[in-house]
Amino acid sequence: MFAEATEVATEAVLRSGWFLEHAWAIPVIPALSFFLIIFFGKRMPKKGSEFGVASMLGALVFAGGAAYEWIQRVNGAPEGAFVSPVVKTWTWWQNSGISFGIGQHVDGLTVAILLVVAFISTLVQIYSLEYLRGDRRYTHFFASLTLFSAGMLNMVVAENMIQLILGWEIMGLCSFLLIGHWWEEGANSRAALKAFFTTRTGDIGLLTGTAILFFSANEWTTKTLGVSGFSIRGLSSWALSGDPGHAAITMGAIALFIAAIGKSGQFPLHTWLPDAMAGPTPVSSLLHSSTMVVAGVFLVARLYPVFFKGMDILGGSANFIVVIGGITIVIAALLAFVQTDIKKVLAYSTVSQLGYMMMGLGAGAWLPAVFHIFTHAFFKACLFLGAGSISHSSSHHSFEMKKDMGGLSKFMPITFGTWIISTLALCGVFPFSGFFSKDEIIDNVGHNGYNVFMIVGLTGAFLTAAYMTRATYLTFFGQPRGASAGEHHEEESHDSHAAHDDHADHGHDTHDSHDAHASHGPHESGWLITVPLIILATLALGSGFLNAAPFGEKWENFKKWVEPSAEVINPTGIAYVVGSVGESRVASDTPTDSTIAPTEVATEGEQVAVEDPAASHTEGEALMAEASGEMHHESPCGTETPEQGVCMAPQIHHAPFKWSKAATSMLIVLAGFLLSLFMCIQLYEKKNKKFVGLTERNKALGFGYKLLVNKYYLDVLYEKIIVRSIAHPIAGAVYRFNQKVLDGVVNGAGTTAKGIAGWVYRNIDQRVVDGAVNGTGSVAHGAGSALRPVQSGKVNQYGALLFGAAAIGALVLVIVNT
C-alpha cells in the first residue's frame, strides 16, 4: 500500500515512531478514565482518584514518548527543512461529499503543549489528592478534572477545526463544573455561570470563523491537498497560498480571534477569569496555567498563517491582535495592584501574561509566544499551588493577603522558596525561565517594528515586578495576621466552605482540634503538596534553558524543535494530491541545496498519483521536497504567493539577542521591585502617614483606585447594562428610549426655540416636531403592545403564526424560483 511505500521512501529523511503515530491516544486515555471514574469511582478504595492520576500519568508517558520521537524526527531531518507533521485521520462522518475527519496533527507546537498539559495535569491531580481530601464531591471533582484535561489534549492534537471545537467545548463545560464545584455558595455558582457565558460569547466567534474559513477554503484544499476545509494543515497552507480573498480571511481571522479573546481572557472579555478563582485552587492552577486560558492563544498559534494573512501581521501597522494583547497586559497588571485576594492577584497576572502571548503572536513573535506558553505554565501553576498550600495549611482556607497572611516565610520554607523562584520567573529575571520567553517577546515585538508595543511590554514587566513584590510582601513578610496568627473567623473564608466541614482527615475536623490546630499555628503542607511545588519550581527555574537565546544558537533547541520552517513544499509533503504531480519539482526559485534527489520526489508523486487517496492514513509521512541550509534565508512564504507547492508557515525573522537590551529590561524589573518594596514597607510596615490613605486624599489617585477596584466598570457594563437591556422586553426599551432620550432632546430644542421665537415654538415645534416624536414614542409603544399579544399563550395562535410563516416562506421560495 501507499503508506508502506512512503515509509520506505522516507525513512532516510523523516523518522517517526510508535508514540508519534499514536499521539491520538493521549486524549483518549483520560477520556476513558473519565467514564471509569463516573461509573466505578465511588466504589474504588480511593474514590476514583486513582483512575484520574493513572490516566494522566499514562497521557504523560505518551506525550513524553511523542516529544522524544518528534525531537528525533527533527534532528534526523536536513537543516532548515520543513518537518512535516504526523497526520492521521479517520472519517468521523460524512454528508454529501463533505467528510469530517477525526485524528491527529502532531508537530512541534502540538508536542510541546501536549507535554505541558499532561505534565501540569498530573501534578495538579496529585496535589488534589491532598487538597480535596474528604470533599463531598471528591469523585466528581476528579471526573471533571480528568475530562477537562482530555478536552484540552484533544484540542491540542486536533486534526481539524471540528475536532478542535469539540475539545474547546468540553473544556468550557468542565470549567463550568469545576469553577462551580462548591456550588452551595451563591458566589461560586455565579462565577461558574459567568465563566461559562463569557467564554460562550467568544465561542460564537469560533463557530462563525470556522464556517467562514471552511466555505472559503474547502474548494482549494480539496483540489490541492485532498483534505477538507476544516483541516488544520489545509487551512494553514490555504491562508498562505494567495487563493483567499481579503475579506474572507480577514473576517474569518477576526471571528476566530474573538473566540480567543473569550477563552484566553483578553480585554474586554477578561472579567470571567478572576471570578473563576471561586473554584478549588487546583482548578485555578490547571485552568490558568496550562489549559483553559491557553486554549485561545493556542488557537492563534495553531492557525497562525490564517491570522498572519487575515490580520496582516508584520504588515507595518498595528493589528487587532497586538492591540488587544497590549491593552490586556497593562490593564490587567494595574488591576492586580488593588486585589487583596492572593489568587486574584495571580489571576490578573495570568491575564496580563496572556496579553504578552497575544501581543507576541500579533507582532510576529510566534516562537517566543509559544515558548512563553510553555514556561508560563510551570511558574504560574507553581504560584497557584503555592497559594493553595498557604490557604490549606496556614490561613484556614482564606486567600485574603491583608487579613489572614503575613510573615509566613518562617513557617512554610518550601512554599516560600518555590514561590520566590516562580515569582522571579514570572517577573522575567535572568536566569529564570520567564526571562527567556518574555524578554524574547518584548525584544521581537520591537524588532518587528512595533515600538509602541515594546514599550507597553516593558511597562508590563515593570508592573509585574511591582505587584508581585506587593503580593509576596503581604504574604510572606511582616507579622502574621488574622488566621495565620491563630485567629478564627468562621464565615469569611473564600475557598472551601463546603469542603470545610468535610475536611476530616488532616487535623482540624472537629471544633476541639480546631483549637488545637490554631495553637500550633501555620505549618508546612504535606509532601503531596510540596513535591509538586518543588518539581514545578525546578522547572520554573530550568525550563528557560530549552531556548536560551543569550547563549547562542546551540541553546535554541525549542526553536529548532517547535518552529515550523517556512519552506515552500510539495503538497505531498503534507498530504496526497489527487492527479499527477509528475515533475512538479517545487520552488526551483528558492535557494536550495537539497539532500533529496529530484527523482525521488518524482517517484513519490507518481506513487501518490496512482494510489487511491483514501487508502492512506499516514499522509504526513511523505517526504518534504525542499531542504535548504540557511535558517534565516528569505522564503516567499507569508509575503508573496508561492507559484508551485504550498507554504505551511509564514517566514518570520528573529531578533538577534543583545545583552544591552536584556540589561535594560532587567533594570526596569529591578526598578519595579525596589519601588514596590519601598511602598510596601512604607504602607504596611511603618504605616507612613504620607502614603497611607493617599487614595482618599488625592483626587486623581482616588479616581484611579476606584476605577481599579471596580474593575474598570466592565462588569457593570456587562451585567447591569448589556444583559439587563436584553433581558427586558426590547419593545419596552425602545419605548423608554423614545420617551426619555428623543423626547428630551426635542423638548430641549423646543425650549430653546421658545426663547428665540415664539411662533416657531407654536407652529413648528408643537405641531410638527413634537408630534412626530411623540408619534415615534407612541408607535414604539403601540408596536410593543401590538406584539405583546403574540405571546398570548394560545396554541391556536401559535399554530396560525407557524403555518402563516411557513406559507409566506413557501410563497417567497416559489416566487424566487419561478
Binding site: 405571546q791 398570548s792 399563550g793 391556536n796 399554530g799 403555518f803
Partner: protein, 99 residues
C-alpha cells in the same frame, strides 16, 4: 391519471386541516384536524410511491398510521386530563404561557 390530481387533493386536505388547527377551540376537533393533515401526507407518499414504482412510500405511510394512532392516544389522554382539571377542553383557556 395525473400525478398532480392526487397531490392537489392532498394539498387541499392539508390546507383544510391547517385551517381547522387554527380555527378550532375544542381540543378534540384540533386533534381531528391534525388527522386530516396526516392523511394528506399519506396520500402524497402513496402517490409518489406509485409514480416512482417503489414500495418505500407504502412503508412510510404505514409508519405514519401507527404514529398517528399513538399520537391520538396520547393526545386524547391529555385532553381527558385537561378536562378533569378544568372542566373544559377549550384551548384558549390554556394560556398560562401568556407573555
Amino acid at each position: 391519471m395525473l400525478v398532480n390530481q392526487f397531490l392537489i387533493l392532498a394539498a387541499v386536505l392539508f390546507c383544510i386541516g391547517v385551517y381547522g388547527v387554527i380555527a378550532r377551540k375544542n381540543a378534540v376537533l384540533v386533534l381531528m384536524s391534525i388527522e386530516l393533515i396526516l392523511n394528506s401526507v399519506n396520500i402524497n407518499l402513496l402517490a409518489f410511491s406509485m409514480r416512482n414504482g417503489s414500495l418505500d412510500g407504502h412503508i412510510f405511510a404505514l409508519y405514519i398510521i401507527a404514529i398517528a394512532a399513538a399520537e391520538v392516544g396520547v393526545g386524547l389522554a391529555m385532553v381527558l386530563l385537561m378536562y378533569r382539571n378544568r372542566r373544559s377542553i377549550d384551548l384558549d383557556e390554556l394560556s398560562e404561557m401568556k407573555g
